[in-house]
Symmetry: D2
Subunit: 425 residues, 4 copies
């Protein structure tokens, strides 16, 4: 049986076939020569399964989609503060190839415009024999879980026409914003951009960002959690250049496009997506790629601001029961993920209607996951009840609140579901 | 028992007491005279419970925090397209009181800067006797669930020093971007900004946005879902003026600040928050308010890009059982929210390991909610199985997949949990 | 006999008849309705004779050509330093109706753009019953040597559509650059601009500037010499808005245009000119007016950088003669204007070939005028000769070097031309 | 006897000795090391005599003072139109090292900022073996009338730190504004700037510009008259970078400064000046150099807008005489330079008071020079008189109106002064 998910991706390719406006990047001969009719889409879940449709095996250069990953590597090399001292995080409102230095600090506005990306590249350490480009390719390889190499034809084509980037680099160097050698920085940056990938590679790379920095197939933590969060924020505000606000309102996915026609998108906690089609619109983004992303976002409710629903109360029901031994007990049956907004209804119930039995049971059999602040708040609630003389029993077969304890560090009494079952019978 | 959530808010007030930098807004006499030591915080859950600490009953003027709500009302009055034709959604990179017109279209860059907000106000319809300001106050009242009135002293103080806003309005009028009368528009806008609120009011207003546009106490749909999503996107990219990128990376909550010292924040699907303290930093945001928001975001994991966890597989377990009548059956036990990224593992399992029994049961007793694309994908999976000769039974006590049907529209066979229980026993 | 100068002006009107591009100012109804085929030219010499051709009696509003005169009046009222503290003198590179504040000082860039001109108007003092506008009109009257009044229809038409100027004024007021009331300042400025003039009036006004600030007909000093020089410099660099550089290279005359279709030009020391034709080019300057000015500049060699010729040596000839009484004498015959560059050749001659006779005569009968530095240098030369034992006699029938004295203050011996004549005979 | 002009220059050096603010150019090591106490001044008249004081023999690099001469050479090579198509003439309002492209045309704003100067250099043709730099040096040599060579130490020092200029050049190349190779253009430009000169050289070079393009010592026409006029206009509006307006109002001389501490100034038709002192002010101009120029301008009345005086009437007197033969004659005695504004009074006299004798004599013995438009106007006046029956005789011993003829091409009767003398006697 063919996966219905593949059918769905096929339908996106088919539905967007009429989008044939725009043209291939004209300032890099090798890109200008790309077949404009190609199109591909891939999607990768948080467990690492990749679904792809269209020209999914076609390799093209990663271009500016390399920028977020280079930024991540620079942060991993030097720490966030060091990098923030050199490159800003504010949207520029300018085209990608403008200098866009912050007038007060002289820093490139953000790492997603070329000036910031060249500076970013120069911050990647070399290690022994390995150059910054080698390390970048190795990092791409770890993200995509296969070796990634430079497309030398593309790299050479770009190097021959890299005047604007050289101009930016020399100006950055002249103003002190780029301490490294300008020509070397641009050469390295261009080779980084010429890394050859497929939509499937990109979907896996994006899925790593969706997955809190953990590559979903290999389980390697390739970005620390904070770097990952920071990176997604920067992609959300600066990833689509001068159309950032429009992208965020309509598609609503942190994303990055490349001039070869690719776009990656990340829905935190859910999936990574990648699309490809070489014709570019006026903003330099793939025209058909944007159409595919819009469709995906709409169909799948992927918009960052689209709360699937107000989070449900964690309190499923309150039962007042007589136990087998004749004791009266109040049982709070909890459910779902415990976050502050859901745990609040439980706390509220207990505060306004204190249990009328001495014995209080928290049944967490249906609980999925517990956020720190929810754990803290609920354990403090339990502690307060104990102080007021209640006897508290926790039923937690999945061990979601293993550290659940009162404020004096005393462990709270626990039952298995069977014990509860037997007691209630 | 005092709620631990209140204890937590108290601790935020206490922890930020040392933040006494900045000064009250100096260009509006009435605001300059505010008591700089005041501080308040409030939080409202999606069911409408408000928790507040500090000077929670102190009223202050809503100022620029009125902008998102005015924008919402203008969109409700005219439709999104009409408003987008007149006001952009791109971050300006300029201070809030710059003209910041888009050089190509001549539109104000976004509705969160003053130029855009004055234009926004002018788009609010009057209705019979009700002026635009009357309607705005009524809307504030619906959002806060209590009558909201203008602080006339603040309004008069601002009107007397509204030179810059008058300047913007006349320039907008001169360029055609503001067809309405400039003086009237500014007067109305200033009265809108002078609406008097508490942090509790603001938390409820923010919670409405967190709640998909539904006021959590009254249940009224005050913004349609799409407007709400659009509004949150604009707040995320333009809400904190020229520090938008920095705010998104560090706090990561769509937010809006006001010059009287308030800040509201919205975490979609979860909570609305509001803080207040009159001293402003260099960006015109409440200095202590920013500190409180940072603490909240950090403690509570509220950052938009902070995926609580990779979403779990919807497939809890696969059981191969002999029914009472001797039939062999494959039971897929599903759990949690069904979104594309979670349903995928079920589909994947079925595709790669087709059921080895003719009878296939989907047990959805533990399922919470089902997204459209997940429903579509899983119903197509079921349809494919039926076509291949399988007998499909759905156990769905909560009715989460009521429209579950095969692609020929035939309803799928359903069992109650008790039927399943009896059959398996 | 008709003056050949009038014939020449007629020929300019005729030659430019084909220039019918552009259109009348569209944002002021009263100006938009002007007859686009009208054309006029006038020229005024430094003795106040006016030559005019075309629609020379047609009155139109002075508009921005009022700016230099208002600037002059403000300087006369407050002194140059006071005005320079409030309004800059740098070209803006922006259109005339941009705010164009200096980013460092917050001052309007120059008095020729609207923001600077509104501020300028607000600096004109009222005097008892006389408002600033009254004084401005009186000043125009002194310059044109006839009463000048406001065209109320034009003033009202502009006041009704003065949104952009009001916007600028409120922004200036808000930023502190315009302490006066914004609406009053704009109203006054617009009435100043609506003053009704003919090309003949304007030519006389311009001639006053050409004449070092002295009205050539009445002989009144209407601007002090330094203000006049300063004003011409500002007109040269800022008078033609964003086309200042192009104007200076091609026409090369300090000038100012008005949106009703007039342009005035000043050639220091020579003439004032004015042209009129209502159709405006893309820069807001009269299209046919520019053509007329270009022709004038070309034909008459009026370009500021067009040195009529390298200045001639002041030393016409050196004569060695025997006087009637047998004395040998060296006679230096001087000519023309004595400026440093011309006197230098005399000094040079004396330094390299000291007179070989004890008696030295400077014959200044052919000398026209003597600049201070030339007088100083030549008197020091004479003093040095006296110290070296020479007897010096000056023949100066026109009294051009009345203060000619040696460095000890001793008066130098003088002869009349007749005395010289008799002595030489 | 020492020339009083040298004494005067000495006094300028002495008077400005206290001006010791600013510091040497810090971004070029070789310039940073200059002796900051050096100072020199030189002045060159239109006959080529150079007066110099201070460190007049000290050689320093020409730097940006090379820009006007390179611009002249490019225009001589390609014609003005070709160069105007590639480089604008508008002041930029930016610092000298900003890119400052015209937003509409993409051209560098003017040839005096670095971007425009690099493009200018690239337009200088090579000729056979001679590179553009060779030709530039040869041109400098022609202007200074001695061989000029590159200071290799300065050139190397600048090449090593030319990042900003390389940045500009690559951006220009990338945008198509600089077709030539960026590195070669910058290398050539830097060598051009490293040409080693003294203030005496510079004064001679400036004097060539003052002299209508004719080198005053050699008499070679090094720039055509129109190029010279154009160049001076560009220097006036763009020569002093972002302080152009301030310079024009206070000093009022077309000028150009160099970062090594030199400034040249040109007063059309009179003199060229050059000053030198290495410490620079905030605008990058020599601080003491500016002070020296201000003093010169003030003392010598060199301000461009400082009309020495309203030009005198050309009509010295009108004599009504009886000739020896009994004929009555009207003699118009003319004087000075005949320009339109002076000839006008003669024409006016004749028009309003037609001669009452048949014989009319124009005595031009005291006339210095005649401008074309004056010649045309006066010859037409004569022609009109002939047509009305008058007999016209011209006395023109200096041949100033050799082509004087009536409108039918008939030569007008001429007398020598002696003939007139004899006739009147």
């Amino acid at each position: 049986m063919r996966s219905p998910i593949l059918d769905y991706l096929d339908s996106i390719i088919a539905t967007t076939e009429h989008v044939d406006s725009g043209s291939t990047a004209d300032y890099i001969p090798e890109l200008a020569a790309a077949d404009p009719t190609r199109a591909a889409i891939a999607l990768c879940t948080s467990n690492g399964t990749v679904y792809a449709s269209g020209d999914a095996d076609h390799e093209f250069s990663i271009q500016s989609m390399s920028k977020p990953f280079a930024y991540a590597l620079a942060i991993e090399d030097h720490g966030l503060e060091y990098v923030l001292d050199r490159i800003g995080v504010e949207p520029s409102g300018d085209a990608f190839n403008e200098l866009s230095l912050d007038p007060e600090t002289g820093k490139p506005r953000n790492p997603m415009i070329n000036a910031g990306a060249i500076t970013t590249h120069s911050l990647i350490n070399s290690e022994g024999e390995k150059t910054a480009v080698d390390r970048m390719l190795e990092y791409f390889g770890d993200l995509a879980d296969r070796p990634i190499r430079v497309d030398e034809a593309v790299a050479n084509s770009e190097l021959a026409t890299a005047h604007r980037n050289l101009g930016l680099a020399y100006l950055l160097h002249g103003s002190g914003a780029l301490p490294a050698d300008p020509t070397e920085s641009v050469t390295g940056y261009i080779r980084q951009c010429a890394a050859s990938v497929t939509v499937s590679d990109l979907a896996l790379m994006a899925a790593t960002l969706a997955n809190g920095g953990v590559q979903p197939k290999t389980g390697k933590q390739l970005l620390c959690r904070r770097t990952n969060r920071h990176l997604l924020s920067v992609m959300a505000s600066c990833g689509m250049y001068d159309a950032a606000g429009n992208w965020l309102t309509t598609v609503g996915i942190p994303a990055k496009s490349g001039v070869a026609g690719g776009i990656i998108g990340v829905l935190p906690g859910q999936i990574g997506v990648a699309v490809f089609s070489p014709r570019l619109d006026a903003h330099g983004n793939s025209a058909r790629g944007v159409a595919m992303m819009e469709l995906l976002s709409e169909d799948m409710g992927l918009h960052l601001m689209e709360a699937t629903r107000p989070s449900r109360s964690s309190l499923r029901e309150t039962q007042l029961v007589s136990l087998v031994d004749g004791t009266e007990a109040t049982i709070y049956v909890l459910q779902g993920d415990l976050v502050l907004s859901s745990i609040e209804s439980l706390v509220q119930e207990i505060v306004t209607h204190p249990p009328r039995t001495d014995l209080v049971v928290f049944d967490m059999s249906r609980v999925d996951e517990v956020m720190p602040v929810a754990e803290r708040t609920s354990s403090e609630t339990a502690a307060k009840l104990i102080e007021e003389g209640y006897r508290i029993i926790v039923v937690d077969p999945e061990g979601t609140v293993e550290n659940f304890a009162d404020s004096h560090g005393r462990t709270i009494e626990r039952w298995t579901p069977e014990q509860l079952s037997d007691a209630v019978r």
